[in-house]
Subunit: 371 residues, 2 copies
C-alpha cells in the first residue's frame, strides 16, 4: 500500500520552480469549484487583469494557458506560424533551440541567428537576417535565457522587427515579474511566461499575451491551427467571450487559485518594487559569490539578476556538490543544460526566493561544500 | 487592489470537476520541490505504479500528462496518427467529435462511425467500417461519453480492431476509477483520462497509458510528431528513463501531490470497491430521480453510473433551475452540450461526489426547484 507523500522542505534556488509562499500554497488548498461557475469566471477576469499589470500591456487577450511554459511557447508558434512562413529565430541557449523546434514542427521556414551561449542576442545579426530575408513574417527571441542567465535587448529587437513589418514572439518565462517586461512599450505581439519563476506560483500554468495584430493574423489564417488544445480560435471562446463562456477544456481550478494569490502578492508589493528587490538581492548574492572567487558566465551588462550562472571551479565535481547541497542543506541550485552541462551552476533568485535568508543559506552552504 | 479569492463551497455534481476530498486539497498545499529532485522522481514512480492499478494495465508507459484531458487526447492522436493514416472514429457525442477534430489536424484520414447521442457505439457499424476500410490503422472511441452518459462496449470494440490489426485509442476520461476499465484485458493501445472525474483530484492532469505496440508505432514514425510539448519520444526521457531523467518541461509539482493522494485513497478503498460504490450510489440517486418523474436519456444497459443524464421536464427553464441550484443550494449540476444543450441535465456521481450526503442534497434541492 502506498503511503501519502510528504515532500522534504527545500530552499529552491535553481532555475525554477522557486519557493512558493505559504499564502499561495494555502490558496491552492481552497475548495474546488466548477470551471463554468460564475465565481470562477470572476477569478479568471481578475487573473487576466493582474497579468496585464505584470506584462505591462493593455492586450485584452492575456491569460494563463492550462499547461506549463512549453505549451505557452507552442501556443504562440502554432497559432502565428503557418506552413511556409519564414521565421527568424534567435538562438543563444536551450530555449532559442526549442523555439527552432517549434518552427520546424509547424512547417515554418526557420532563419537561424546564432549567438554564443551566455551572450545576449546581437541586434546587428538580426538586422542582417532581415536584410537577407525581407519576407520574414515573425521574429522570435528569448528575453531571458533560462539556460544561461543572459538577457537580450527586447526593445531593440522588437523595433527591428517592426521596421520590417514582422511580428514578434518573445519568451519571457524567466523575466516576468523579476526584471522589466513591457509588452506594449516594446511592441511585442506574442509573449509567453511560466508561473513557477518570478511569480512564485507552482509550475503548470503559462501566462500568455497577444496583440490585436497577432489576433488579426490568427483569424485570417489560411490553414487550421495544427493543435486543437492550443487553438486560440477555440480557447478564446472560454477565456475571452463577452457573454456566455463556451466550454473548451476543463481549466486547472486550484492552480488558478494559486496564480491569483501570487498575482495579488505582486500587486501588493508593486511591480517596480519587485524588480528592485530582484536587483538588490542579486547584488548581495553577487558580492558573496565573488568573495568566494566564483566567476559569472554572463557579462555584467547582460546579466539577469534573477538567474546567476557561475562557472564550476576547476577540479570540483559539480554533481557531487549539488547532491550535498540538497542532502545536507536542503538547498536546490541548478545544473547546466545542453552545451553547459557539467560546466556551470545556475543559482536562481526568483520571486519569493529572492530574499536575504535564502542568500545567507546559499552562501553558507556553498562555502561549506567548496571549502 | 485585488483581494485574495475565497471560493464559495459548492457541492460538485456536474460532469466534473467532482468534489475534491480535504486530504487531496491538503496534499496540494505541501511545500513545492524541484521537478528533478530525487524525492519528486520517487513520487513520479509511485504515481505511475498507482495509475497502472487504476487502468488495470502492466503498461510501463503510464503517467499523467502535465495538462488537462484534452491534451491527453491530443497526445494519443499526434503520436499515433501520421498524415494519410486512416482512422475509424466513433462519434456518439461531443468527445467523439473532438477525436475527429484531432484526426483531421494530424493529417489523418477519418472514417466516421456515427451513432445517436445517448446511444453506445454500435459494434456492427464498426465491423462494417473495417470491412470497407481494411487498411484502417487506428480505431478511436469514447468509452464513457461525458456529454451523454452513455457507456460503450470497449471489450468488443477493441476486439474488432485487433481482428483487423488496428491500434485502439480509447477515451476513458469519465470512466477511470468509476466503472471498470481494463486496458490489458481489452487490449487497448492508447488511453487517456482526466484527474477531475472519478479520481476526484483537481483538474489539470491527464493520466495516459500506451502499450508496447503503440510505442513501437511511435518509434517507427516516418514524420516527426507535430507537437513538441506532446511528443512522446521527448516526454519519455523525463517520465521513463531508467537512469538519468532528462529535463523536458517543468512538471506541475503541487497538482502531482494531489493526484498522488487521490490515488492513495483509491488504493485504500480498493478499485473494485470504488466501482461498486459508484454503482450503489447510482441506484440510490436513480430511485430518487425516477420518484420525481424524471427520465433518463440513456437506456439502462448503456447507462454510466457516474454520469446521470436526465431530460429536462417540459416547460421548465433549465438554466434558471441550474442557477437556483447554484445560488440557493451551492449545488452544481451540468447542462447539456452541443446537440443536447438546453434539453438535458447531467448529474455527476464521480469519485468523492458519489456519496449519500450528496445524493440527499441533490434530491432535496431538485425537489425544491421543480416542486
Amino acid at each position: 500500500m502506498t503511503v501519502p507523500f510528504i515532500p522534504p522542505r527545500r530552499t529552491l534556488m535553481g532555475p525554477g520552480p522557486s519557493d512558493v509562499p505559504q499564502r499561495v500554497l494555502d490558496a491552492m488548498a481552497r475548495p474546488t469549484i466548477g470551471h463554468l461557475d460564475p465565481a470562477f469566471v470572476e477569478l479568471m477576469e481578475q487573473i487576466k487583469s493582474m497579468l496585464r499589470m505584470a506584462f505591462r500591456t493593455e492586450n485584452s487577450l492575456t491569460f494563463p494557458v492550462s499547461a506549463p511554459g512549453s505549451a505557452g511557447m507552442e501556443m504562440c508558434f502554432v497559432n502565428l506560424v503557418e506552413p511556409g512562413d519564414k521565421v527568424i529565430v534567435c538562438r543563444n541557449g536551450v530555449f532559442g533551440g526549442r523555439m527552432l523546434e517549434n518552427v520546424k514542427r509547424t512547417g515554418g521556414v526557420p532563419v537561424i541567428v546564432d549567438d554564443a551561449w551566455g551572450a545576449p542576442v546581437d541586434p546587428n545579426k538580426v538586422r542582417e537576417a532581415f536584410a537577407a530575408n525581407p519576407d520574414a513574417k515573425v521574429l522570435a527571441f528569448v528575453h531571458a535565457e533560462t539556460s544561461t542567465g543572459a538577457q537580450s535587448d527586447a526593445a531593440t529587437l522588437a523595433k527591428i522587427a517592426q521596421e520590417h513589418g514582422a511580428l514578434t514572439i518573445m519568451d519571457c518565462v524567466t523575466s516576468l515579474g523579476g526584471t522589466p517586461v513591457r509588452l506594449d512599450g516594446w511592441g511585442i505581439d506574442a509573449a509567453y511566461s511560466g508561473s513557477q519563476k518570478c511569480l512564485s506560483c507552482t509550475p503548470g500554468l503559462s501566462p500568455v499575451s497577444f496583440s490585436q495584430r497577432a489576433i488579426d493574423t490568427i483569424q485570417s489564417r489560411r490553414t487550421p491551427v495544427q493543435s486543437w488544445f492550443l487553438d486560440l480560435n477555440l480557447v478564446l471562446g472560454y477565456w475571452q467571450s463577452a457573454g456566455k463562456r463556451t466550454y473548451h477544456h476543463t481549466a486547472p481550478i486550484n492552480p488558478m487559485y494559486g496564480l491569483h494569490e501570487a498575482l495579488v502578492m505582486l500587486e501588493e508589493e508593486g511591480l517596480e518594487n519587485a524588480w528592485a528587490r530582484h536587483r538588490a538581492m542579486h547584488e548581495t548574492l553577487k558580492a558573496g559569490l565573488e568573495d568566494m572567487g566564483l566567476r559569472y558566465v554572463v557579462d555584467e551588462a547582460a546579466r539577469l539578476p534573477q538567474l546567476n550562472s557561475i562557472h564550476v571551479p576547476a577540479g570540483v565535481d559539480e554533481a557531487a556538490v549539488r547532491a550535498r547541497l540538497l542532502n545536507e542543506f536542503n538547498l536546490e541550485i541548478g545544473a547546466g543544460l545542453g552545451d553547459m552541462s557539467g560546466k556551470i551552476w545556475r543559482i536562481g533568485l526568483m520571486g519569493h526566493s529572492a530574499r536575504q535568508e535564502n542568500i545567507d543559506a546559499c552562501l553558507h552552504a556553498l562555502r561549506a561544500c567548496l571549502g
